[in-house]
């Protein structure tokens, strides 16, 4: 369509906002130009343009192109709301904050500070994530703070920490991808989740790389694969064993790397003796030959990178499954060199930065541990409190919901998340939240969780709120935001400061800007694993982006590549870890004969609170669906497009069917972006990975039936 031409008088009213797309971990830079509409009726048209930057190279996907729509939507909450007689009514900030503060104090007096819970999100800026952790521990004094990133990154993060001694999304740079000769994409659908990264992979392919995709579905990413391993959901750890087995058999190992840079090889070797390829083939539903082919491709390639994402990680054995892929990386020595490495592809906008600075229950800023005395001492020093005053570690996100359910936590402060939709076992979570004495939700929209809240605090959107975000590579970017806050909405960090003041803790929260917070974060992270000390706003403005770790404010040339000479464990070595092949957490049986897995679609983000508000994105994906193979549909007497009830041991939901041949016959797939009756999490399992507390979202045994065969329940 041709843009409508405007007279020059109108042109003067242009507003140009340079910002970052909030909808995934690539953090594409973009320019939003706002112009008065031709009708002049105080309306605006927006044009969006990608801006060049190192990761996205000026590209944008459909989400980025329409990301402004929710921010300028009429549905924004513009005033604090308080539930009175069952209705949300506008109140002043004064009233809202006073009520919260006094309620916090009452609960603390009666039940102790640990009865207060704080729940954050992976889309918050580094500054806010940092401050939320500090707020919980210093202003509230509770140990119970965690965030939705548990559902996103915890398996890969903990695996990276255990194996390498540190977790940064990519151990190499995006620019290494085209230089890799073999790329394994395990459980990641980049084409739909991070579309603007695809050219890195197509370039690799043009350069002759072999691309191996591990996914139960033939996704748009799998379409580009040379080898597609269409595994049974939940058997990735076993598959990695099979791949390792072949590497061992063919002796495609880098023995000098193993000897000099790793420990635990002997155990792995011993373990490999017990792995049988036939068994792996049986477990994963793959042919031995194709496993062998993939292993050879990776083993023989001079350079290679393995990527994992939620497909591997959102399993109850997600942590060990990732570690098993890391075993492959170490055994072949494909790390710390150009064109080599491992990457966990973060989903949320600030999934990476959000987990480094202390909104996770066991962490302090800079990836420090809340249980390590010297870390406690250091951070307490920066915060000006005694180390003893720092609470100890709390519990993970979903466990917090169980604590709420048991009424051990009596008040929950939610910022930047929609836990009632995003947690597994949604029915229990809903019950839990209903039982709270005080539920505060800071959000832009009336999310499903906000609807249940006693108090809703309106916060600013990405176009309005300045801060830094760390992209999937570990590259820190500054999002400067100049748009005015609409209505009475406040920046999330400003709300925390004001609440701290009401709680009499104002002298710990004296900031005038996001930059002030960042400067303190720099200090608090200094010397930690995720050291941001050398990164300043000035420098980000000048250089565009800076990789962590960055201990010095001097510009250093060789950024981004990790583990060139040593790993982050004290002895400098990486650790092998033998992993047993296991059956998936839940095995289909007669009653629940199918495996359900879930994931994202191109047009939506998280639980859709933002993207459903964008008409252009909503128009592209109106409603949820369950994808199934045509043979499966025939067997269950389901027609394309009809309503289907999906039931698991936990609960059920109804969505329309979508019949395709691009999925395994034993598997069905449901996107995760819808709440209410279409919420896939009504049926997912709350079982957690013992190592990282990641719920096993991706594998649930289910039963499907056409709704028309069921008698209609009246409501």
């Amino acid at each position: 369509m041709q843009p409508i031409r405007k007279s020059s008088a109108v042109k003067d009213a242009l507003v140009v906002l340079d910002t970052q797309c909030p909808f995934c971990s690539v953090q594409c830079k973009m320019r939003v130009v706002k112009e008065p509409d031709a009708t002049g009726a105080n309306r605006f048209t927006y044009s969006i343009e990608g801006l060049p930057n190192a990761a996205s190279e000026g590209r944008l996907c459909v989400k980025g192109r329409n990301a402004h729509q929710h921010a300028v939507s009429r549905d924004r909450i513009l005033q604090p709301l308080m539930k009175k007689n069952g209705q949300h009514v506008p109140v002043t900030w004064e009233e809202a904050l006073n009520t919260i503060a006094s309620s916090f104090q009452t609960i603390t007096q009666a039940h102790g500070a640990d009865a207060l819970g704080v729940y954050g999100g992976g889309s918050l800026t580094n500054e806010t994530a940092y401050l939320l952790g500090k707020f919980s521990r210093v202003a509230l004094g509770t140990r119970y703070v965690d965030y939705n990133g548990r559902f996103c990154m915890s398996a890969a993060a903990s695996a990276g920490n255990k194996t390498f001694g540190v977790d940064r999304g990519l151990t190499c740079r995006l620019s290494d991808i085209p230089l890799a000769r073999c790329i394994i994409l395990a459980g990641t659908n980049i084409a739909e989740c991070q579309p603007t990264l695809m050219p890195y992979f197509t370039k690799a392919k043009e350069n002759g790389a072999i691309i191996i995709v591990i996914d139960p579905r033939i996704t748009a990413t799998a379409d580009m694969a040379d080898i597609h391993l269409q595994v049974k959901p939940g058997t990735d750890a076993a598959l990695a064993n099979g791949l390792l087995k072949v590497l061992f058999e063919e002796n495609l190992l880098d023995h000098s790397f193993i000897a000099n840079r790793t420990s635990g090889y002997e155990q792995l070797k011993a373990h490999m003796a017990s792995v049988l390829l036939e068994e792996v083939a049986e477990l994963t539903g793959l042919k031995e030959a194709i496993i062998r082919k993939a292993a050879l491709a990776y083993g023989l390639a001079e350079t290679g990178i393995i990527f994992t994402a939620r497909g591997v990680e959102q399993q109850t054995d997600g942590h060990v499954a990732v570690r098993n892929f890391l075993n492959m990386v170490l055994a072949t020595g494909k790390i710390g060199k150009v064109g080599c490495g491992y990457g966990a592809i973060t989903g949320q906008g600030n999934g990476q930065g959000g987990r480094e600075h202390g909104q996770k229950s066991d962490q302090l800023p800079g990836y420090r541990s809340i249980e390590k005395e010297e870390d406690r001492r250091y951070v307490a020093g920066v915060w000006g409190i005694e180390p003893d005053e720092l609470p100890r570690k709390g519990v993970s996100a979903y466990e917090m919901m169980e604590f709420v359910h048991r009424q051990e936590i009596r008040s929950l402060f939610v910022m930047g998340s929609n836990p009632v939709v995003s947690n597994p076992n949604a029915n229990l979570v809903e019950e839990a939240l209903e039982s709270l004495e005080l539920l505060v939700v800071a959000d832009m929209f009336m999310s499903e969780t906000a609807r249940m809240a006693h108090i809703i605090l309106p916060i600013t959107a990405y176009l309005e709120n300045t801060g830094t975000l760390t992209n999937l590579e570990g590259r820190v970017l500054l999002r400067e935001s100049t748009a005015a806050a609409p209505g009475e909405s406040l920046h999330d960090w400003a709300i925390l400061c004001q609440l701290a003041e009401k709680l009499g803790k104002q002298h710990y929260f004296k900031y005038d800007s996001a930059q002030d917070i960042f400067d303190e974060l720099r200090l608090a992270s200094r010397g930690g694993l995720a050291d941001y000390y050398g990164i300043t706003y000035e420098r980000l403005r000048r250089e565009g982006s800076v990789y962590w770790p960055c201990p010095s404010t001097d510009e250093d040339g060789n950024q981004g590549m990790m583990f060139e000479h040593k790993f982050a464990h004290p002895d400098g070595k990486a650790i092998f870890f033998p992993v047993n092949s296991k059956l998936p957490q839940e095995i289909p049986d007669e009653r629940y004969p199918l495996i359900m897995t879930n994931g994202r679609v191109l047009a939506h983000y998280l639980t859709g609170v933002q993207t459903h508000k964008s008409p252009s994105l909503a128009a592209r994906s109106l409603e949820n669906y369950v994808e199934m193979h045509s043979a499966t549909a025939r067997k269950h007497r389901i027609e394309d497009g009809e309503w289907v009830e999906v039931t698991s041991r936990r609960g059920s939901f109804s969505v329309r069917s979508r019949i395709t041949d691009k999925i395994r016959e034993d598997t069905v797939f449901v996107p995760m972006h819808w709440g209410g009756l279409q919420n896939v999490n009504k049926a997912t399992s709350p079982e957690l990975d013992p190592d990282c507390k990641m719920p096993g979202f991706k594998t649930s045994a289910v039963h499907i039936a056409p709704l028309r065969l069921k008698s209609y329940k009246s409501e």
Partner: protein, 709 residues
Amino acid sequence: MKREKLVVIGNGMAGMKCVEEILKLEPHRFHITVFGREPHPNYNRILLSKVLQGDSTIDSIVINDWSWYEEREIKLYTGETVVHLDIQARQVTTLSGIRANYDFLIIATGSSAFIPPIAGIHKPGVIAFRSMEDCATMIDYSKKYKKAAVIGGGLLGLEAARGLLNLGMQTEVIHNASYLMNRQLDAMAADMLRRELEQQGMRFWLSKETESITGLNRAKGIRFSNGTTLEADLIVISVGIRPNITLAKESGLTTNRAIVVDDFMRTSDPHIYAVGECAEHRGVAYGLVAPLYEQGKVLAGSLCGTQAAGYEGSVPYAQLKVSGVEVFSVGSIQQGEADTALQVYDGIQGTYKKITMKDGKVSGAILFGSTAEGTTLLGLVKRGAPIAELAAKPKEDQSDEDSIAVSMSGHETVCACNAVTKSSIICAVMEDGLQTAEQVRDRTKASSSCGGCRPMVEAIVRYALRYDKESLAPEVAAICSCTAYSHDMVKSAMKSGVFMNIQEVMATLGWLNPSGCPTCSDALAYYWTLYYPQLTKEASAQDRNRDSRNLILHVPSPAISGFNTTLLAKHLHQACQYLTLPSPVKGAISSGIHSPAGVLVHDIGIAGSPAGWEIYAGGHAEHPVKQGQLIGIAESDSLAKELAIAILQLYREQAEYGERVWKWLERTSIDEIRELVLHVEHRMDLMSRAEAAATYLTSERLGEHICSQ
């Protein structure tokens, strides 16, 4: 062998093109000397318009820079006007006294702007548009003054005017004919052009003769022959060109309108050739570059003795270089010269195409809005192709993508990342003249993100380049034989104009049958209710079958469920009962799968579902059977009602009279409809327009239409 001496008079586009061609054939045959009046090396005169419009810089339009001449050992005299030519002595002399002898001489003096004999025309502030200097003058003036006028609404005048606008001047265009570019366009295309340019800010004075230029020491304005005046500080004259032939004429060469040459570009003197705008071949002196370049080639061949076939004349074509406007014209297009073979107007895309024929052969064409087809048409006109070729299809040899590219519908998304549809890629190719998938990527963003759709984009680009526009966009037919206008044309005329009644619409649009026939009167009556709901009394009398075009809702007795169908039906009925519709709309409301009502085969279908109310549109139970498409989901009754009304209003506005909902939906993009009705503000707009119409359309008739079973 001693090199022969070749002298060229005129350092312009045709002359230098010819020299380039000579060097290609025989780089060492001649000692070449070039005299040029302008102080610059050869530059691309065509692009002066772009320089003026700010799209190019003076430096960037140089074709042959100084070193080009040097490297080829060409002696170049710039700023030297040849004032004397001695045919006998084979010698030229310049104003400053430089002499040069030649074995062969090429005259390529081009032409100058024609300056009509108008009183005051030589006052400062009146200039032509021909050279870099003229360009510089205009830029200078724009810094000092605000008001400009261009005399002459032809190609050049309009390009100058656009440039002046870009320079921030208020620009008036004076034209003596009744429509713009009257040599190249017909009234219809010219009118579309005028409207487009008016939107860009130009103002026009048509059918105006300039009598004099006012102002004492410098131009201050224009007086027309009817006595009216117009203020202007800068006046650009662009009323035609005159070949520069004085030199040739004085030396005794045969001249007519220009220097007469034969098919090998020879003048009446065997040692002298002429090329370019100053040459007249078979009675024609051309004023556009393409023919002149052809001549240059022929001349080079004749000089080097390699030319077997002579120059046979060119079919000139014109293309307007004003950004945002595409106009193309070729061949005979004037009435009387040729007959119309095909005339297509697309009100949605804003495109127009006319192809003329003579004796069964393609003889000319006009394109407006999209000129991608220009080259194809030019080819047809040049060849004098039989009219039947217009319908010819290219031959089949296609890849998978190619065949998908053909069969996929225009609204289908090709690039999901950037939400680019097939039709936007096609538009990019046809309307913006893009040629490659890269250009399309840069323009539309298609394939710029993940790149997965790249092969598809390439295929569609190929397809768009290959096919005629007809095969892509259906020809828009006239409403009936009473008029040449299509539904869309009439709608846009009625929407943008101000009319008092339907008769006035017909009169203004030149209805052939002044009272109309039932077909067009019904359509007009409906459109009248759409655009002039406040003046509908008279129209509703004319809208004879209005009763049959209402919303009829089918609501089976509700099943036990959370969905109150009767209430929703009542609300919808209240809101829509008086709304006129393009064709009858049957709706069905069902509480859910256990209470089937044929929701999917009604024009509008609403059904309760686990996700809330689902709103469908475009179902059809008779031949051809169509399944309704999901437009939106509503969690509340009020949203369901809003969505249904918004869809109906959109249908009222976008459909043609008589067009069923499913047909409308098929030619519109479902994503676009969803975007519009899901967008709160757009939805509110649609609702309030529906409401306003309903208020006006209050009528005595129409009973209850809810037929509960």
